[in-house]
């Protein structure tokens, strides 16, 4: 990105001042190095988001921002329903409520390394992953509606996981306001064989070692200890979310035109929140959030079953579950006034600071955990929301390393089998149904996750707690 186009507010904060049709400023949080490497499309897209009706205060791009659909991935924007604010299917993304959950095992890395080959095989066999993968779960029409209303709470009621898990999931595992009747039969049909599956692309299940602790006190509060093993699960609402996104995007192109909204990019298609299409999408999107929460809960159950074979004494407790493709109705203070806003986070994680009323008692002192997935080789991070994130970004932080190279480039440059071999030498076991899929997700195709996380911390969005080193990666 051309740095000359930006006004530098501070070392990690860059402003695109309102011009043209922009209603508010756009702000990018990143180091100079990340900004220079960022795609020009991020500039164009975040500027476009700032033109939408009812947008509030400022729009934001996180340090991992890259070219997305309408919104950049890593984009955050809030809209006021009482000021003609809109909701955008592109601002949520196709994989609605895609997210990450982290489980702690209490196991020492040396114990896991003794069985890591067998453990990798068992996880690969038991966690459905990749194209066309199915789980053994088959749901009736009534059960699909129950999933869409109940989320992870439904999953727990069916024996997938434990009631105490719910306390450590956003919305306590169940998004309110879901309307299964707004979800099309085609979306439900697409989901039917996909409950409890990881999917493909950048989705994964990773067994990781807590390799570095940056903040002992917070790590302790989250139950994270150096050299112990944790598990990250990254996936979303599968076919159902994708179908809802696809259908509403088209519907919103028509709705935006009807409402007289000028769209600089059709992918920014949106509808006023207080409109029939806006409300219909909200109900369907919330149902998809519940689908994703249930999906990650079921995969958690499968993972516990596998670990139980090897470590019957281990208790895999949920640290937290975050979603990073959502639009949520939240209260925020803008210009000294408390307002109810609809906050879009497309490839961005909610990051409540310490003391926020929506956090469970156990996390009140530390803030909301934020999980940043890196590449297969480089590792991931645990952060927590900072108080300053309320003012800086509507309590939002980054979600991953962000791609630095397209899939087509990655496939041309890397070989999947070589990556699997090289990582094995480094002690990282990859299990994937597709070598080409591995090549597309090559570690070098991603940005430097350390730089992304450092920028998030220096910008006052989220604070580093621990770094996680991959041991086993089940790649979708």
């Amino acid at each position: 990105m051309n740095i000359e186009l930006l006004k530098r507010r501070s070392e990690f904060e860059w402003e695109i001042s309102p011009h043209g049709q922009m209603r508010v400023p756009a702000v990018i949080y990143a180091s100079e190095g990340l900004i220079r490497a960022m795609d020009d499309k991020v500039y164009e897209q975040i500027r476009n988001v700032a033109t939408l009706p009812g947008v509030v205060k400022e729009v934001y791009a996180m340090p991992d921002a890259h070219w997305g659909y309408g919104f950049p991935i890593g984009g955050v924007a809030a809209f006021d329903p009482d000021a003609g604010g809109v909701i955008s299917a592109g601002g949520v993304g196709f994989d609605i409520s895609c997210g990450v959950r982290l489980l702690r095992t209490g196991l020492h890395v040396d114990d896991v390394l003794k069985v890591n080959e067998d453990l990798a095989e068992s996880l690969f066999r038991n966690i459905p992953a990749g194209v066309g993968s199915k789980s053994h779960i088959r749901l009736s029409d009534k059960e699909i509606d129950d999933v869409l209303l109940g989320g992870a709470r439904w999953a727990v009621s069916q024996g997938y996981g434990w009631p105490e898990d719910l306390n450590f999931i956003e919305e306590n595992g169940q998004m309110r306001g879901a309307k299964p009747e707004e979800v099309s039969p085609r979306a439900k049909e697409r989901q039917r064989p996909e409950m409890g599956t990881l999917g493909s692309g950048n989705h994964y299940l990773e067994v990781q070692e807590v390799s570095t602790i940056f903040d002992e006190k917070t790590a302790k509060a989250l139950g994270l200890n150096k050299n112990e093993v944790v598990i990250s699960i990254h996936c979303g609402s599968r076919g159902l979310g994708h179908q809802i996104g696809t259908e509403f995007l088209k519907e919103m192109v028509v709705a935006a035109a009807k409402a007289g909204i000028h769209l600089p990019d059709r992918e920014l298609a949106c509808a006023p929140i207080n409109s029939q299409v806006g409300q219909s999408y909200l109900g369907a999107m919330r149902a998809a959030i519940n689908c994703a929460l249930a999906n990650r809960q079921i995969i958690t159950h499968f993972t516990r079953e596998v670990f139980n074979e090897y470590f019957p004494e281990a208790k895999l407790e949920l640290v937290y579950d975050v979603s990073h493709n959502t639009c949520k109705e939240e209260w925020h203070v803008v210009d000294g006034k408390r307002k109810k806003l609809f906050v879009h986070r497309k490839g961005a994680t909610r990051a409540w600071g310490p003391g926020h009323s929506e956090l469970p008692y156990e996390l009140q002192k530390v803030g909301q955990p934020v999980f940043i997935g890196g590449s297969m080789a480089t590792g991931s991070y645990v952060l927590v929301g900072m108080k300053t994130s309320a003012e800086r970004s509507f309590n939002s932080a980054c979600h991953g390393a962000g791609r630095a190279m397209s899939r087509t480039q990655a496939v041309r440059k890397f070989q999947g089998n070589k990556i699997v071999h090289d990582l094995k030498v480094r002690g990282i076991l990859i299990r994937s149904p597709s070598f080409r899929g591995v090549a597309e997700e090559a570690p070098e195709a991603y940005k430097d996750v350390d730089a992304v996380v450092d920028s998030a911390e220096c910008a006052g969005l989220a604070k580093k707690v621990a770094r996680l080193k991959p041991l086993i990666c089940i790649k979708g």
Partner: protein
């Protein structure tokens, strides 16, 4: 100048673009289907044995491409099929009728790389240039 119908991919930072080119709009649309399959697997590894009928309607040509690709993705996802033959019987600016042919996903035979979540409106373009039609968009994977 292109001499015949063909498909290709183009780069998008996070995802991938599919493009069909041909002497007619029908050819260009059919080739986007091949490009879509090629995101997942080598189309030559897919035997076109099972027919699936497809009908799409949309307000304009570009949204028709969006509908066409999303319809294929829906069939792919729900029937667990991969497609390698796309036979469009009729096509206008707002409607198309086709039969697509494919076979059930077989992991050892097809080695599928990635699921396609949906066709998007990013880089969505259907146009005629120098007597050749081009149809393209980015697909989310």
């Amino acid at each position: 100048m292109v001499s015949q119908k063909r498909w290709e991919h183009f780069s998008h930072e996070a995802d991938i673009g599919v493009r069909g080119i041909g002497p007619t709009l029908k050819d260009a649309f059919e080739m986007t289907g091949m490009a879509l399959t090629a995101v997942i697997t080598d189309p030559q590894s897919v035997h076109p044995q099972t027919p699936v009928p497809i009908k799409c309607r949309a307000p304009d040509r570009e949204l028709l491409l969006y509908e066409w690709l999303n319809h294929i993705i829906y069939e792919l996802d729900t029937r667990r099929l991969l497609f390698s033959k796309f036979d469009i019987k009729t096509i206008t600016d707002t409607e198309l009728e086709a039969t697509i042919y494919g076979e059930t996903v077989n992991h050892s035979q097809h080695k599928p790389a990635v699921d396609v979540k949906g066709a998007t409106m990013t880089e969505l373009r259907v146009c005629e240039e120098n007597g050749y039609w081009l149809a393209q968009c980015v697909v989310d994977v």
